[in-house]
C-alpha cells in the first residue's frame, strides 16, 4: 500500500521567462536593501521566491548551527547571508539563502561590495527549499565556481562538492571538516519539536565533540 503525504511548501515561486539583463539590474537596484523576495536570474529566466515561515525557520537554524560549529571548532568564517551574486558575462545571478567564506575568509572580510571578476565566490552556499525551482540552481552555482553546496528540504540535508564542473554528493563537508550530512539531518530533524534555545544547546553539545582531539588508543 502506498501512503501519500502532502507536505506543506516552504516557499512560493513565480517565474518570468523573458526578462532582460537590464530589467534584472533595475530590479536588483529596487531591492538593494531587502532580502525578500529572493531573485534568481538565468539567461532571461527570472525566478521570484518568497519564503514562508518554515523556510526561514530552517534557514536561521542552519545558520545558527554553522555559527556554533565555527565557535566550537575555531574555524574562521565570514557570513554574507543573501548577498546578491551576479555576473553579466554569464547572464546569471543569485541570492543564496545563506553563504559563507572559510578558506577565502580573509579575501572578503570587511568588503562592502563584491566584484566577482576579482573576488571569489562563497566557499559554501546553503539552500533551504522543498519545492522545485524552475532554474537549475546547481548548474548556476557551478558556473560561479561555488566549491560546496548544502541543501535542506525539510527532511534531509545533502552536501555536494564541485568536482570538474559538476557537483557530487559527499557525506562529510570539506568546508567544515568533521561535519556530516547525517549529523545535520538528525539535528535539523529535532528542530521541529524543540524550543530554539534547547535545540541550540543540543547543537553546541554535538559541536563540542567535533572540537575534541581524537583520543589515541
Amino acid at each position: 500500500m502506498t501512503t501519500t503525504v502532502l507536505e506543506t511548501a516552504m516557499e512560493t515561486r513565480f517565474v518570468l521567462s523573458n526578462v532582460s539583463w537590464e530589467t534584472y539590474e533595475c530590479l536588483m537596484q529596487d531591492y538593494e536593501n531587502s532580502s525578500a523576495p529572493r531573485f534568481t536570474y538565468d539567461k532571461g529566466r527570472l525566478e521570484i521566491m518568497s519564503p514562508l515561515p518554515d523556510h526561514e525557520r530552517y534557514k536561521r537554524s542552519l545558520e545558527a548551527a554553522i555559527t556554533i560549529i565555527c565557535l566550537e571548532t575555531g574555524a574562521h568564517a565570514e557570513a554574507l547571508g543573501s548577498t546578491t551574486y551576479r555576473r553579466e558575462d554569464l547572464e546569471q545571478g543569485f541570492e543564496p539563502d545563506s553563504c559563507y567564506y572559510f578558506a577565502n575568509e580573509n579575501r572578503v572580510a570587511h568588503k562592502a561590495t563584491l566584484d566577482l571578476c576579482g573576488d571569489p565566490p562563497p566557499d559554501l552556499v546553503v539552500e533551504v527549499d522543498n519545492t522545485r525551482s524552475s532554474i537549475d540552481k546547481l548548474a548556476l552555482f557551478a558556473a560561479f565556481g561555488v566549491p560546496e553546496v548544502w541543501r535542506y528540504d525539510g527532511e534531509r540535508l545533502e552536501m555536494r562538492t564541485l568536482e570538474s564542473g559538476r557537483y557530487t554528493e559527499i557525506a562529510e563537508s570539506r568546508a567544515l571538516p568533521g561535519v556530516t550530512a547525517e549529523a545535520l539531518t538528525r539535528l535539523l530533524g529535532e528542530r521541529g519539536d524543540a524550543r530554539l534555545t534547547d535545540w541550540l544547546r543540543a547543537v553546541r553539545e554535538w559541536a563540542l565533540t567535533l572540537a575534541e582531539p581524537e583520543l589515541e588508543p
Partner: protein, 216 residues
C-alpha cells in the same frame, strides 16, 4: 511504501513593492510582444498576473458580446485587448483584460502607443477578477479617467460609471446603450455552462434580444 507529494506552488500572481518606474518600463519592454502576462503598476506597487484559461474564456465572451452588440447598434468600436495604458506623470500603468474605444474612437484612430499623457483614456475597461488584486484597480482607472468599467468576479458582472466622487454601480452601460449588468451576467453564465463554446449566431441573437427589450 510512502511517497511524499510536495505541494507545487506555482503562483499565477506576483506582487512586488518598491519597484521603480524604470524597472516597470524595462519589464514592459521585455514583454512588449507577448500578451502572456498582465502588469499593473501603481506608484511602486507592481502586480504581475498570468491569466488562467477560465479567465481568458470570460474575456473572449465579453469581447464577442460587445462586438455583436456594437454591430446591432451600428456603432464603430475599437477593441485594444490588453494594450498597456501608462502615464509616467501619475506613475501608474495598467493592462486590462479588455479595453475599448467607442465614443472617443476618432481621437485615437491610428495611434500605436498609449502613453496617455495626451489623448483620451479607453471608454470602457473590462476586468475579470476571479481572485482579487491587492491594488485598488478602480482607483487606478479613475486616475486615468476611464468613463466606464465592467468587472466580473466569476458569478456577477458589475457595471460602474465614473462620477465626480468615483465609480458608481449602474444597471446599464452608457458606452453601449442596451447592455445591462443582468443580461451580461446571464450570458457569461451561459458561456460557462457550454465551456465557453458559444456560436457567433447565439451572440447576435442575444444582442438583438437585448435591443428589442430596450425598444419595448
Amino acid at each position: 511504501m510512502t511517497t511524499t507529494v510536495r505541494e507545487t506552488v506555482i503562483e499565477t500572481r506576483c506582487e512586488l513593492s518598491n519597484i521603480s518606474w524604470e524597472t516597470y518600463e524595462s519589464l514592459l519592454r521585455d514583454y512588449e510582444n507577448s500578451g502572456a502576462l498582465r502588469f499593473t503598476y501603481d506608484k511602486g506597487e507592481l502586480v504581475i498576473m498570468s491569466p488562467l484559461p477560465e479567465h481568458e474564456g470570460y474575456t473572449r465572451l465579453i469581447e464577442l458580446s460587445l462586438a455583436a452588440l456594437a454591430d446591432e447598434l451600428d456603432l464603430p468600436i475599437l477593441g485594444l485587448g490588453s494594450t498597456t495604458f501608462r502615464r509616467s506623470d501619475l506613475e501608474r500603468g495598467f493592462e486590462a483584460d479588455a479595453a475599448f474605444y467607442v465614443q472617443n474612437l476618432e481621437r485615437v484612430r491610428g495611434r500605436s502607443t498609449f502613453d496617455l499623457q495626451s489623448g483620451p483614456p479607453p471608454d470602457l475597461v473590462v476586468e475579470i477578477e476571479i481572485t482579487r488584486s491587492a491594488l485598488d484597480k478602480l482607483d487606478l482607472f479613475a486616475a486615468f479617467g476611464a468613463p466606464e468599467v465592467w468587472r466580473y468576479d466569476g458569478s456577477r458582472l458589475e457595471i460602474r460609471v465614473l462620477e465626480v466622487g468615483g465609480y458608481l454601480v449602474a444597471a446599464e452601460s452608457r458606452v453601449l446603450p442596451g447592455a445591462t449588468a443582468e443580461a451580461l451576467t446571464a450570458l457569461l453564465a451561459e458561456g460557462r455552462e457550454s465551456q465557453f463554446v458559444v456560436p457567433l449566431r447565439r451572440m447576435r441573437e442575444w444582442a438583438r434580444g437585448l435591443l428589442e427589450e430596450v425598444g419595448k
